[in-house]
């Protein structure tokens, strides 16, 4: 009833692609250690002139070495970083107009895994975007949470504290939260990085299931060669600039 953002239920434009980016430039400013500093000590774009169009229902790889700007691009699409210039349209809407339709799965290091919280409580946060202020998760929210945990094969861990999860289990729990949100555009940042073989298989199966439901998936990776067959295409980034886009 009291949503976090008044635009959150914008309906998708049926003619629009899942994601359309034109001339995107993102700049980190100041002296923070993670912000690249230009040769004169000023600002240097973390992303420069990125343009792409991702149709609904495809899975794309976002390929590039560490520091290429993959996470920055995802954060800009999620509204976490300000856009200096260019446009980002998600299902035909401007940034922030449809929060519930986009989910950004961060790298595991961005979560405070020491926070005292159970696996179920973390996954149910994927329902908060529908709940808004003051409402508590209801029966449907808990059902969707359990369903997501079962799809990832971690339902038996629901009562476990998140501080007691292995790396692979952490990744599965984060993907379960993304599923619980039931978003239409999933941005997954290195979901297969440093996880066990079983988790790789489960995640690959779940991603195929997501695509089969007509949802759009973009996966950031720097190991594209090993997974080429899994994607409909790839977008290459290097030093914050788009190098190439490839459709299979």
């Amino acid at each position: 009833m009291f949503s976090y953002c008044r635009h959150r239920h914008s309906s998708p434009d049926p003619q629009a692609p899942a994601l359309a980016i034109k001339g995107l430039e993102v700049v980190y400013s100041g002296l923070r250690p993670y912000g690249p500093i230009g040769p004169e000590g000023g600002e240097k774009p973390a992303l420069k002139n990125v343009t792409m169009r991702v149709p609904v229902g495809v899975s794309m790889a976002l390929v590039g070495p560490n520091g290429a700007g993959k996470s920055t691009l995802f954060k800009a699409i999620s509204g976490l970083l300000p856009v200096r210039s260019g446009t980002v349209r998600i299902f035909g809407h401007r940034l922030g107009a449809c929060h519930q339709r986009v989910v950004y799965l961060p790298q595991r290091s961005e979560i405070d895994w020491q926070f005292p919280m159970s696996v179920r409580d973390l996954v149910v946060t994927g329902r908060y975007v529908y709940l808004g202020w003051f409402a508590r998760p209801g029966k449907e929210d808990l059902l969707r949470t359990m369903d997501a945990l079962e799809q990832l094969g971690v339902a038996d861990l629901r009562g476990r504290q998140i501080s007691k999860l292995s790396g692979g289990q952490q990744q599965r729990v984060l993907i379960a939260r993304a599923l619980a949100q039931n978003a239409d555009l999933l941005l997954l940042d290195e979901p297969l990085n440093a996880v066990d073989a079983e988790t790789r298989q489960v995640v690959a199966r779940v991603l195929e299931g997501i695509k089969a439901k007509g949802k759009t998936v973009i996966v950031a990776t720097h190991y594209y060669d090993q997974q080429e067959g899994r994607f409909d295409g790839a977008i290459y980034l290097k030093d914050g600039q788009q190098v190439d886009a490839l459709s299979h």
């Binding site: 100041g30 926070f115 005292p116 908060y128 501080s163």
Partner: protein, 270 residues
């Protein structure tokens, strides 16, 4: 038994116990998020920042609570604002502000040439709580408790995954400033119990002790509140029977709770 009940024949003791328990529980409940969001230093900054406000209020002849309130809320907003400037590291601003504010407070104290009157600001005086002080404590504690209940789920998300909170449209800055302002209000009531120097201890120690015993958030809040109540009562009794400084007694009792929790947990670490 009468050792426990005798002090309650005095109205000022009843007020002191009530104030100490409310302040202790409030500090423990809010302190849970302060500790888990690793904001202990911010609490430290706010407690020290209250001093100049209290001194100015004293010099103006108004309630020192109101002076502390203005100074801590302004500092909380200042920390929030400085932290948004990417050229200033957050821990730098948090480390800088309390020292500047404390220095201003000491300067003002020295200009009044009346150290004695102001010692209660530094070290607290729980036995000196007036009915008006108690009313303010109840109002601030009630408001903070209501905010904690209403925004509990957003606060949890803010701690565990702030980026996700931002991405789903939760107004991150509003919550952050809100937490800082409630922290400032809590510091103001904490100052009455244990003074500016020790209030941060009341925010941190009971929670740190509870964290040793449980890894569940709800249980952690309850246990830390229980520790805070034990510490608060111990402080009041120590002050009544032995004439000890109440603030120091409360903080040391909380430290004993921490020591006890640490000993209890020892077998599970082996």
């Amino acid at each position: 038994m009468h050792y426990l009940t005798d002090p309650f024949q005095y109205v000022f003791i009843q007020r002191a116990v009530l104030a100490a328990v409310i302040v202790g529980v409030l500090c423990a409940a809010l302190g849970t998020f302060v500790v888990l969001r690793r904001m202990s230093l911010v609490g430290h900054a706010l407690t020290h920042s209250a001093l100049p406000g209290m001194v100015v209020a004293y010099l103006l002849g108004v309630s020192i609570f109101s002076g502390a309130l203005v100074a801590t809320v302004l500092t909380a907003l200042g920390i929030g604002l400085l932290a948004k400037d990417e050229s200033v590291y957050e821990d730098t601003s948090v480390g800088m502000i309390p020292m500047v504010m404390f220095a201003v407070g000491i300067l003002l104290i020295s200009s009044t040439k009346s150290y004695r009157d102001l010692s209660a600001m530094l070290f607290g005086n729980i036995l000196g709580v007036t009915p008006a002080d108690l009313r303010l404590i109840v109002v601030i504690a009630g408001t903070s408790a209501l905010a904690l209940v209403l925004f509990h789920k957003e606060m949890k998300l803010l701690c565990v995954d702030p980026n996700y909170a931002k991405a789903i449209g939760v107004p991150f800055d509003l919550l952050r400033y809100g937490l800082l302002v409630f922290l400032a209000l809590t510091v103001v009531v904490g100052i009455q119990a244990v003074g500016t120097v020790l209030t941060n201890a009341l925010l941190v120690i009971p929670v740190a002790a509870a964290r040793l015993l449980t890894d569940r958030l709800g249980a952690m809040m309850l246990i830390s509140c229980a520790f805070a109540v034990i510490a608060a009562l111990t402080g009041v009794y120590a002050s009544y029977y032995f004439g000890l400084a109440s603030g120091a007694a409360i903080v040391l009792a909380a430290a004993c709770c921490f020591g006890l929790a640490w000993v209890i947990r020892l077998p599970s670490k082996r």
